[in-house]
């Protein structure tokens, strides 16, 4: 995705016209919203915790090169093999090579957004490998041939009935059922078989601890633990920003992550992986690999303002609170990361010109900033990226692509009118004569799609204060 056929506006119209989709999102989002609210009921305490989360992430980013080196050193000491990938293609090839080295053909996968970013499944399948998603949500969308519509709940755009139909159609021999337990059982049966025969397991990483070389993995279904322990080889993939400095940084971030993501105090499973199976141990993989992906992140790191994008712990709560995301869903964004975090991350990774209207799809309502557990000033960064779109001297890929004389002139004229009181007065007088009889073109045409034309007052407040005898200097 993200090719030339991508039109955000078209996607939006389609999504908004899909009443089932809108109902599914509205239901799921308000549930997640309520759950988060319940665990973070104590506002002062939540604020304190968010400050800690922000500090942990900022500290990690401020010494990222050093921490990554330390992480690599510790991992190697612990017996984990570390690979560096600058691009997603490099990362894919590293994983393919690991599979080939082990004559592995069947991979089971836990949930990993970085692997989505790499389009790993497609790549491996093109090279003759079988890839099986084992996270229930990911499994559902893999069956449907779709991509995640949410970074935490990837199949959230589907309701139970749609899943029932999908299972019946796509799982050989599956009877039609709408009972959640029976649907779960169907998925479990298929997946268990896959686990037994898999020769490699892949997982993401929620946090990597530099101090100890520990890979942390948060999940609820246990499939992540199976992926990292049952097959003989485990490959973990992470974006290079996911490192934290110390083991003591883990608890606050974990608390923020689970509370923000699913409204849980703690998830059912929390895995801390430090070594492959040691001699004498009965389980665990014989080999553990860690693939650390850059894909534009180190460029983002260089800008002190935009760097804050990398504080993200991928909790997804900004999506759940976004009035735009909750109405159009994740697929409309056209890229891997949707919602507010996608709005700031995708243009920096893919280039502003490729992501088009995404950056304008925000009313800057600040709902995301208010809940972000690590306090990323998302609206500020959206403004910055909007500016970059017009700024030929910018630094983000695709900067200045939107520069066009008419729009620039409009803003220059606007600035003039608002700097010179005489001009302003004149503009108001002329406007007042028009009232609401302006031609419905340009912005006004868009405005009046669902609204009446604003009526300019005959006398502005500037004039009224004079006639009403208010002190005016």
């Amino acid at each position: 995705m993200g090719d030339q056929t991508f039109s955000f506006e078209k996607n939006v119209e389609t999504a908004l016209g899909d009443t089932q989709l809108r109902a599914n999102f509205e239901y799921a989002m308000s549930t997640l919203y309520q759950k988060r609210k319940a665990v973070f009921a104590d506002e002062a305490e939540t604020e304190r915790l968010r400050e800690v989360g922000n500090a942990v992430r900022q500290r990690a980013l401020s010494k990222l090169p050093e921490l990554l080196e330390k992480l690599e050193k510790k991992c190697i000491e612990n017996g984990i093999q570390v690979h560096w990938a600058e691009t997603t293609d490099e990362a894919n090839r590293i994983i393919l090579k690991i599979m080939d080295d082990h004559r592995a053909t069947r991979m089971v996968k836990g949930k990993s957004m970085v692997s989505e970013e790499m389009h790993l499944n497609k790549f491996l399948e093109e090279h003759g490998k079988e890839v099986m998603e084992t996270d229930l949500g990911e499994y559902i969308i893999q069956l449907a041939g779709e991509t995640p519509s949410h970074i935490i709940v990837p199949a959230v755009h589907k309701n139970k009935d749609q899943i029932a139909k999908l299972f019946h159609e796509k799982i050989p021999g599956a009877p039609y059922t709408e009972k959640v337990e029976e649907l779960n059982a169907l998925a479990r049966k298929t997946l268990r078989e896959k686990f037994q025969h898999a020769d490699i397991g892949l997982s993401g990483v929620n946090m990597a601890v530099a101090e100890t070389g520990t890979l942390c993995l948060v999940e609820n279904e246990g499939n992540g633990r199976m992926c990292t322990t049952v097959p003989p080889v485990h490959v973990a993939v992470m974006g290079l920003e996911k490192v934290v400095e110390k083991l003591s940084d883990v608890p606050p971030v974990l608390r923020l992550l689970t509370g923000s993501a699913t409204g849980q105090i703690i998830t059912t499973y929390f895995n801390m992986i430090t070594t492959p199976r040691k001699p004498g141990e009965k389980d665990g993989p014989e080999e553990v690999h860690l693939v650390i992906l850059d894909n534009g992140r180190s460029a983002i790191l260089k800008d002190p303002e935009l760097r804050q994008t990398l504080q993200c712990i991928r909790c997804g709560t900004c999506l759940n609170h976004c009035p735009v995301y909750t109405r159009i869903g994740g697929h409309a964004y056209g890229f891997v990361y949707p919602g507010p975090i996608g709005k700031i991350l995708t243009p920096q990774m893919e280039g502003l010109e490729k992501t088009g209207g995404i950056i304008s799809a925000s009313s800057l309502c600040n709902a995301c900033e208010e809940v972000c557990p690590v306090k990323i000033p998302i609206p500020e960064l959206i403004r910055r990226l909007r500016n970059e779109s017009y700024d030929s001297k910018g630094s983000v890929p695709g900067h200045g692509y939107k520069w066009n004389l008419p729009e620039v002139l409009v803003w220059k004229a606007w600035a003039l009118v608002n700097r010179y009181p005489r001009l302003n007065e004149l503009a108001m007088k002329v406007g007042g004569l028009f009232g609401d009889r302006f031609p419905k073109i340009g912005p006004l045409k868009q405005w009046t799609r669902v609204r009446t034309t604003p009526r300019l007052a005959r006398h502005s407040l500037h004039e009224l204060v004079k006639t009403e005898g208010v002190d005016h200097e």
Binding site: E9, V12, S363, C365, N418, A457, H462, L464, V470, H472
Partner: protein
Amino acid sequence: MDKRYPDKPDTVYFFGTCLVDAVYPEAGMAAIRLLQREGVRVVFPQNQSCCGQPAYNSGFPDEARAVARQQLDTFTRDYPIVVPSGSCAGMMKRHYPMLFARDRDLSRIRAFSNRIFELTEFLVHVLKVKLEDRGDPIQVTWHSSCHAAREMGVTEDSKNLVRQLKNVTLTELEKERECCGFGGTFAVKQPAISAAMVTDKIADIRGTGAGRVLSGDCGCLMNITGAMERGKVGIQGQHIAQFLWERTNG
């Protein structure tokens, strides 16, 4: 949100905002009257214009700065500056220091930002107004702009003023903290999403059974009432200043 309020001053500046100036001047006049009634002198400098937010949000910070500077150069004396909009107040209070972060005038700008107050918080905390309702019984609902809620934190102040009126029943929206879809140029750059948002907001407003929706922000009002008018929804929208003035001055 750290908030400090001054003692009641003799004189205040009034920053009308460009939207009140052009579309809702009666709301501006009502706000001035409310302030004057508490015994403060209100000064309305004629060289004022816009806070600069439209350009700032659209990716034109240089133009925003130029217009912001016009306000800095206009409101020069040490009076509190009262603003009948949470959004414009948020721009001047929270964003000016960021907009001018690299400006050698930053300390002057900070001092300016510290003097900014949204109208209803000023009425409640500085003037400590006591309102006496003289109107007939009416049911209203309250729409808070996102910036009044999240940048200025004044939603409760506004609602508490309405609650002082004994014949007014305030029924709150189910999703009071959700954006109405205005967002300045957002409404015209993403018209479809904005339309979906305002449609949902109106459904929420109708659900309250109120005959009038009040707000402290004219951007939201223009959006919501424009869409209600177009959809032939018989609910009126009104700026809180005008509502308070009408109910108490009779």
